[in-house]
């Protein structure tokens, strides 16, 4: 054999070897099939896909340029799960033969009557009658409906015009595909393709975990345009993870600049270290004073961190999140929450107004309004003016959230406004919120203001605010001890 192959160039061996080679290739690829008519190569699915992902069909491996499949823009990688045959009805002969072909195998077809929605006709047993007869040429009408048949139970009247019969056939294997297409040789066919949502969700999740800047465009595209909610949810949570990773850039740059995977823990910013540890990127050993990037992900990510940081800070994501925190844009609350979280991390000043709008929106879920307040608190000082305006609102929830956010941000302006409000209100619910917010700021003027309140309510035993103030002072003195 070896000798023969070395003499490959000689024509008498060539004639022998080529068919042999073709045979070997043929045997090796029995899970593939080239459709001569449509000019495309198809591949059988792994048989367990049916059980694991309830997916069946055949996959398009390649289409021959300018062949029928290519011209119809069927693409490489598409999963054909149904073959649909359409039979136009122009005579009683058309009707009877379409009925026969359509019911073959699956006892199931779709009847299109003029001015009526498509009717699915299913027989219980093979050989059962549909119960219809027709008449006419060119225009075919229902002539008779037999009682006690599927047709009698459907919305069909004598005189209805039959337009076409459609037969959808689910494909389970390459052999089935060949068989069905063989029967439809002189027929126009439609393929129904399925999207492999499971694979896409896994890919989207993996892209979030990998922390690679190149993923952002695709994730945004899926998030904006895909109709599958589960996939959109996976996309936004991957984007959230990428944002979380990107804010650790400063930390990862220190490793990257030193070109090491271990650094003294006390040389790094504590809060970033903690976040990175929570995300599983590194481990911190305080007794040894080391921060060690975890292999393989942490050690690989340091090379990608800067590109991710730059891409995230182009502003596209902040814009996206601002748009999708609105209930009128995004009906899914999990997605709105993810967008609020993204804004809380990115802290764009441009998000202040949209966030205040969410906070003030009475139709929004209370938890989400509160989360908008948290995002504003994370933005900090630039949000103070807008929060003070929101605090003027009549709505107690808005007042409550705004006051609590102002307390979280602190600063002279926020503090003075809160103190003033406390001194001018006698509404118990608002008083409590304000006391809590002012206590959070906790500087000398704040404490003096709270002390004044305590004295004012000193003799009022039943007052909620007095009890609450006592609690506040008690916990503060405990802290200072």
């Amino acid at each position: 054999m070896l000798e023969k192959i070395t003499k490959f160039g000689k024509s008498r061996y060539f004639m022998f070897i080529v068919p042999l080679f073709a045979l070997i290739v043929g045997i090796g690829c029995e899970n593939q099939h080239y459709d001569e008519r449509l000019q495309m190569r198809l591949q059988q699915l792994d048989s367990d896909l049916k059980d694991r992902w309830s997916t069946s069909g055949v996959v398009v491996l390649e289409t021959t340029p300018n062949g029928p499949a290519d011209k119809a823009q069927l693409e490489r990688g598409e999963l054909i799960s149904y073959v649909i045959a359409e039979y136009p009805i122009r005579s009683t002969g058309d009707f009877n033969s379409a009925l026969k072909k359509g019911l073959e195998e699956d006892n199931n077809l779709i009847l299109y009557l003029k001015n009526k929605p498509p009717l699915r006709i299913a027989l219980r047993r093979r050989g059962d009658k549909v119960g219809l007869s027709v008449e006419g040429n060119g225009t075919v009408r229902i002539k008779q409906i037999q009682p006690g048949t599927p047709a009698a139970n459907a919305d069909i009247q004598v005189g209805d015009i039959v337009e076409k019969i459609v037969d959808e056939r689910k494909i389970y294997s390459l052999d089935e595909y060949k068989e069905i297409l063989g029967k439809l040789a002189k027929q126009q066919v439609t393929f129904r393709t399925s999207e492999l949502i499971g694979v896409k969700i896994a890919a989207v999740t993996a892209l979030g975990d990998l922390g690679d800047a190149r993923a952002i465009e695709s994730l945004v595209d899926i998030f904006r345009n895909n109709t599958e909610l589960s996939l959109r949810k996976a996309s936004i949570s991957s984007l959230q993870r990428l944002v979380e990773l990107s804010v650790l850039n400063e930390l990862f740059q220190q490793f990257q600049d030193a070109n090491v995977n271990v650094l003294p823990a006390d040389s790094l910013q504590a809060q970033q270290l903690e976040s990175a540890a929570i995300l599983g990127l590194l481990t911190v050993d305080r007794t040894e004073n080391t921060a060690t990037l975890k292999a393989p992900f942490g050690t690989q990510f340091r090379h990608r961190s800067e590109a991710l940081y730059e891409k995230i800070n182009e502003g596209q994501l902040a814009e996206l999140a601002q748009e999708y925190i609105q209930i009128k844009v995004e009906p899914d609350q999990e997605i709105r929450r993810a967008c609020l979280a993204i804004l809380g991390i990115l802290k764009p000043v441009s998000a202040i107004d949209p966030l205040v709008a969410v906070l003030e929106n009475p139709t929004e879920i209370p938890g989400i309004r509160f989360q908008a307040g948290v995002a504003l608190r994370q933005i900090g000082q630039p949000a103070v003016d807008a929060l003070i305006i929101a605090f003027e609102s009549e709505d107690t929830s808005t007042k409550d959230i705004a006051a609590s956010a102002l307390g979280g941000i602190g600063g002279i302006k926020a503090r003075d406004r809160l103190i003033k409000a406390l001194e001018n209100t006698s509404e118990p619910a608002i008083q409590l919120t304000l006391v809590d917010a002012i206590a959070k700021i906790g500087d000398a003027p704040s404490m003096q203001a709270l002390e004044r309140q305590r004295q004012q309510y000193q003799n009022d035993d039943d007052s909620g605010i007095r009890i609450f103030l006592d609690e506040v002072f008690k916990s503060l003195t405990q802290k200072s001890m």
């Binding site: 059988q44 048989s47 992902w53 027929q187 439609t190 993996a206």
Partner: protein, 294 residues
């Protein structure tokens, strides 16, 4: 009643004076009893038994089995001598005195114990057998175990083979690869797992064959889904050189293991996978495509 007890003691005594190692017998008796701290006391007896010239194999074995660092103050010589490695060594000494008996006992009995320390000591002993003694016989026992009808044996054998393979992949990987053809699904399953634990690149082609068999025309040529899934996991554990093979799975639109491959790749964090993942996202959504007759 008392009399019977007395007679029993006398018999024990005479046996002890005869061929039996007295301390060994005492230790074994303690283990069977429900006395307080019986194991700690038995270990003391086994140590004494070893100072006598007879029945050393069993004393070594039982010392390795029952000794524990919990009995001693940390960092004392006794504590050191109760480490997993020292216990493994005692088990190995037992093996050296009675090879056939203790090899079988280690593989089919000791490894089955619930105590993780005992399992690890047995593993240590078997590693010593592999390095210093009858490697061939050990491997044949382990192959017998991985082909066993008892799941515990199969699991234990895969665990030991995985560990041995880390030190000597050149010998172990071909053995495991050959087991991939075994008739019992669970045996193949454990062989695949062991190949993952060995983590040798040499296993990649054999794992690839299993993975690709999913679309074979005949059912008999298709490997079971759970074995194929584990083969993908094994590729993930091998990492590095297995990345292209995992990428190939992601790119095979007909594969049932794409999700598994994607997950394995995400754990590896290799950036070579970003492009194939982005490609997967570009795949068309569900739609109807009509191909006109001409």
């Amino acid at each position: 009643m008392k009399k019977i007890g007395l007679v029993f003691l006398l018999v024990l005594f005479s046996v002890g004076c005869g061929t039996q190692n007295e301390n060994l017998a005492k230790g074994k008796e303690l283990i069977k009893s429900d006395k307080r701290r019986k194991e700690e006391r038995a270990v003391r007896e086994f140590k004494l038994a070893l100072q006598q010239p007879m029945d050393n194999a069993e004393a070594h074995y039982l010392l390795g089995f029952y000794n524990s660092q919990e009995f001693y103050e940390p960092n004392t010589p006794d504590w050191e001598s109760a480490s997993i490695a020292e216990r493994g060594k005692q088990m190995f000494l037992a093996y050296q005195e009675e090879k056939g008996k203790y090899l079988e006992r280690l593989v089919f009995e000791t490894l089955r114990d619930d105590d993780l320390d005992i399992q690890n000591a047995a593993l240590d002993a078997l590693k010593r057998v592999y390095k210093q003694a009858d490697r061939k016989r050990l491997l044949s026992q382990l192959q017998k175990a991985i082909k066993s009808s008892d799941n515990r044996d199969r699991h234990n054998a895969h665990w030991v083979l995985g560990h041995l393979g880390k030190d000597d992949p050149n010998t172990i990987v071909p053995i495991l690869v050959k087991l991939l053809e075994h008739g019992r699904t669970e045996t193949r399953l454990n062989a695949v797992k062991a190949l993952g634990e060995v983590g040798s690149e040499d296993a990649i082609p054999a794992l690839a064959v299993i993975i690709e068999s999913g679309s074979a025309k005949w059912e008999r040529d298709r490997e079971e889904p759970e074995v194929r899934q584990l083969a993908v996991e094994a590729l993930g554990k091998i990492g590095g050189a297995a990345v292209p093979e995992l990428v190939k799975i992601v790119e095979n639109k007909g594969s049932s293991l794409r999700v598994d491959a994607i997950r394995a790749l995400a754990v590896l964090g290799d950036e070579k996978v970003v492009e194939p993942l982005l490609d997967a996202l570009k795949e068309q959504s569900s739609r109807d495509v009509t191909i006109p007759l001409n």
